[in-house]
Amino acid sequence: MTATLNNAAAAPTGFAIETEALTRVFSDLMAVDHLDCRVPYGQIFGLLGPNGAGKSTTIKMLTTLLDPTSGSAKVAGFDIVAAPAQVRRSIGYVPQMLSADGGLTGEENLLLSAKLYAIPRSERKPRISDALEFMGLTESGRRLVKTYSGGMIRRLELAQAMLHRPTVLFLDEPTIGLDPVARHTVWDRLRDLRQNYGMTILITTHDMDEADELCDELALLHRGQVAAVGKPAELKARLGPDATLDDVFAHFSGGSIQEGGSYRDIRQTRSTASRLG
């Protein structure tokens, strides 16, 4: 990589995430269609939309798992195409599926993350015990993850994602399939991460309560485009005094949040839900 390119990629932008006409086309489907979106540092930002609206594709591009067809995006100031390695060092990611390895203990999962994120040997232990404590998992650290509840696995994944103190944390449907208590615990921990470490947090969700209670700002995605963006209260106020986010959603997407979704999305959601029992 040339020095100029490097400098251009690292230029500070003032936004944790900034996309410009970000587009991804699958053979016959425009999954993300010239998406323009800006997320200030330190925000909890929600990408809201039904299955198939382009949320997961957007997150895959922002986390460097998928190259855009056209357009560009910067995460933590780094270009996702020109500087994917720097982007990966600056972010944490919790996928939709419960991805902690069930055949390992909580601590072993964390140790793997610590090594892959190049955390120096001397810092691994304190960071791991700190992350376990932060997530309320100190007692369970030495148990196999397959004995954990769904909420505990989610918290372990947050612990994995915070080890290297990412600038931006991405979560794909963070509380899908969790019971209400576990859900609130995850929300509290996410707020703590923002509070204590100034992390910018981007979540995707199609849960209106989550969007309303957790997020500072929302972008409503519809057919790969931003249909509306703003604070939850603002979005509701646009439609009238008694409007709910469901109404907002129906208004901007011309349908209910419950509709749509490809077979694959539904299958994934179901398998996540069934793993959580």
Partner: protein
């Protein structure tokens, strides 16, 4: 709260060369694989069943045919390295299934979002496959002792056998990973895995010498990596066994194949998610 203390010290990236990084990442991946293997080692024992059948049943019977020229060793001794290579192949060729499983669980997503290099993810799997292969070799040595096959016990020979087995396992596991990246589903993978294993086995020198093959099959056998693994093992495992191609070519060819396959797998690994 301890968190506040650590917040003041952001992760200092270990400043090291690419080789050191790849080594650290590779070992991190291999380490978790081996922890899981030792936690549930049943797999190692169930995999011993097939070679026992080949050696005890097939081998004992075919030893009496005396239709296959095996030089100055018995047929049973001749086929023992072949069966070791076969068990290496059969174990490693289905390695990709585990990767597809990890993809469905989201583990692959997390690995690919981490700063770990793709080649490390591939090499980590290869190292752990190599280790499993070594465990298989130990089991086959035990079977060979029970069958009173004359084994070479010189440390260098044993080391060379284990190194060959590790390299062979790494080759077939990486090949399997490439297939997994292409087919992406367990069902299709099972089908392809079944279709591949038997031709690779029969189109090799595992249970008969290449010299007695028809011409077209000789050509296939000579591009089959299994042939070079068997050839190296045959020269080093059993008393009186000879390498036809020479160890330098056997290992040289295997190393080149492994490097090429690893490079392809590292490129394809990210496409597993599409």
């Amino acid at each position: 709260m301890t968190s506040a203390r650590l917040a003041a010290q952001p992760a200092a990236w270990a400043d090291s060369s690419v080789v050191v990084e790849v080594w650290r990442e590779t070992m991190a991946i291999a380490d978790v694989e081996l922890r899981k293997l030792f936690r549930d080692p049943t797999e190692l024992f169930t995999r011993a069943v097939q070679p026992v059948l080949w050696l005890v049943v097939f081998g004992q019977v075919f030893s009496r045919v005396r239709g296959i020229p095996t030089g100055n060793v018995s047929y049973l001794a001749f086929m023992t390295p072949g069966i070791l290579a076969q068990s290496v192949l059969f174990a490693a060729i289905f390695y990709g299934i585990a990767v597809i499983w990890e993809r469905d669980l989201g583990i692959v997503h997390k690995l690919l979002v981490s700063p770990a290099k793709r080649i490390s993810l591939v090499l980590g799997k290869a190292v752990s496959a190599g280790f499993r292969g070594v465990m298989q070799a130990i089991i086959i040595y035990l079977i060979a002792i029970a069958l009173r096959i004359a084994i070479r016990w010189q440390p260098l020979d044993i080391f060379a056998v284990l190194a060959g087995v590790a390299l062979g396992s790494a080759i077939f596991a990486t090949f399997s990973l490439i297939i997994a990246c292409i087919v992406k589903s367990r069902e299709r993978f099972m089908g392809i895995g079944q279709v591949l294993t038997m031709p690779l086995f029969f189109a090799s020198n595992a249970i008969y010498p290449i010299a007695i093959m028809p011409g077209w099959l000789k050509v296939v056998a000579l591009v089959n990596p299994l042939t070079y693994l068997v050839d190296a093992l045959r020269g080093q495992m059993i008393v009186g066994g000879e390498s036809v191609h020479g160890y330098a070519s056997d290992f040289g060819i295997m190393i080149v194949i492994f490097i090429v396959l690893s490079a392809i797998a590292a490129r394809l690994y990210p496409t597993l998610l599409r």
